[in-house]
Amino acid sequence: MIERTVVIRNRLGLHARPAADFVKTASRFVSDITLGKDGSWVNGKSIMGVMTLAAECGSEVTVRADGSDAEQAVEDLVTCLMKEYVER
């Protein structure tokens, strides 16, 4: 199992669009992916779960991947979390 913790940088946090990107990326991997914040964990392939975490700008989240492609998964998902979005 591989895990990494990062701080959310997008101004509005991990909301609809960034959450969707995260889930789309997570779904490309066979590994089980979970995302945690303040002790609660959700399925990283579930948009409802990821949105429920309501990770705001500045909050710390941990990506955990377990499976054959765990390393690449964590790498890609961290990149995804570090993205900033142009908001309207």
Binding site: R9, N10, R11, L12, G13, H15, A16, R17, A19, A20, V23, K24, N43, K45, S46, I47, M48, G49, M51, T52, A54, E56, C57, V78, T79, M82, K83, E84, Y85, V86, E87, R88
Partner: protein
Amino acid sequence: MTNRVLRGVGVAPGIVVGAAHVIQWDFPEISRGQIERSEVAVELARLEEALDAVRRSLEDLRERTRQRAGEEDAKIFDAQIMMLLDPEFRAGVETLIRENQLSAERAFEFKTLEMRALWSQSTSYVLRQRVADLGGIQVRVLNHLLGRALATPIRPEGDNRPTIVFTRELTPGLTVQLERESVAALASVEGARTAHAAILSRSLGIPCVMGVVGGLERIRDGMDVIVDGTHGLVILEPTAEEVEAAYAGERLRHELGTKLDEAAGQLAMTTDGRTIELRGNVDLPEEIEPTVNHGATGVGLLRTEFLVLGRTHLPSEDEQSDYFGSVARQFAGKPVLVRSYDLGGDKFPAAFQTGPEANPFLGWRAIRVCLDQPEIFRRQLRAILRARRHGDLRLMIPMVSFIEEIDCTRDLVAQCAAGLAEEGIDAASDIPLGVMIETPAAAILIDQIVARCDFVSVGTNDLTQYTLAIDRGNARLADRFSPHHPAVVQLLERVVDAAHRGGIEASVCGEMASDPLSAFLLIGLGYRVLSVSPPSLSLIRWIIRQVDANGAVVAAEAALLASSTAEVEAILEQALAQYVDLQLLKGGRLPALVGAARLLGSPDRHP
């Protein structure tokens, strides 16, 4: 008298007088809850069929939105489609069907209610806003499973009044669907400016008020109502005077709209013959076309952050050169002022993240970063030098507070040009260099700056923030943050005077130039180049064409003697009122023009 005037938030401008139609898009009653064990397979199949059908209808709405409002708005439906197809959510519904022997509709309702409860209680404002997206899915799936059509407004025969729909919660899907039913205006109890449905109603041009409190239960189908999306009001059973006032308000809006349309394509010249160069601020590539089409005489601020944000690596020299070259070509021969990277703090690609700073606005950013990381800067300078073959590209550096920063930049430009020549790469041998005046230090040292550069451009938001020591993002101080503070006005004068004495161009590319009152002041102070966000181009062009430059000078001279923001504004308003109907400006101005500029990642540093 009962209160007939309901207050809400105007999220899409426009005033409509019409007949109310209440849509109860509330969730349908489910009578059949429990099922027999033998029915499980049938229920699972029903669920699958319903999810599939709703997915198709959402995809239809997405496509329709894309055609009517563009790809960006269409993406709103992507989140809903993903929610609908969420594997974990679906597995939860299937488990309820299989193990608790619930009907497909009961199981789906149960799961969405669970989600809804969780999200509604969240302390996250953004998450609470997404409850409407959830509701949109819930209502569609349940109605499909129950074989019921979604309620749509039906106008009685012979009633020609425009239809105004009232609903508890406005979902993006409902908004687009209602647009197809030629609904004239919308009002809802839930929701706010940032709701997806609000963004959509603005794009589709349907006046809309959200957050209407108290009174939805008093509205009956067919009741006469006014919805004022410009001011966020709903008036029930309006009096003749109120209807007249509504029509008058709407006339003002249209009148201003027509005037602005007429001004497009005309010279940006004051009534006494002073020509003002009107340029556009370009954040993103998609803003280039509207700016060119408007007839802007160049780009007064080409931001380069979008090349970096949301990526892990800095863009290559080729990529930047291609982008700058394409902008230069589209503005054939007109000046394009490229602002060098305004990065810093957390506005940095992941690979360059630094630790958090206690005071990012006073921290390591903009030109400070570029000069400390010359490899990053060099790549950008080489890209501009190469692209300058395609047009009049110029360079301006942000947040300057030391004269050395200008000298160092010049040296770097010279080194880059020499390097390119040595490598035999086709490129310009120099770039006109400008300085953004955003700090009091730069405004005070303006004579020394003018002596060393080719033009100056004022970033008014930062100049105001640093001069007044007011964080422009602090909501508590928002009413004190104004570029009309006398100290800022005096610095603005100091800058333009020094530039003209030194024979160089002074422009304003800050948000200030997009405000009619401020534009009038800037013209009066002597600025001849204004650069504004693309949606404000028509308004400012029209203002320029209405005013007398000498009158503006007189007003600016009086403003320079004022001792408070209120005094400055009173002077400007009184003077501007000689040329334009302030009522028309206030009543007719679309709220969407104010602060509609996109926000980049935090802390945003729009000048």
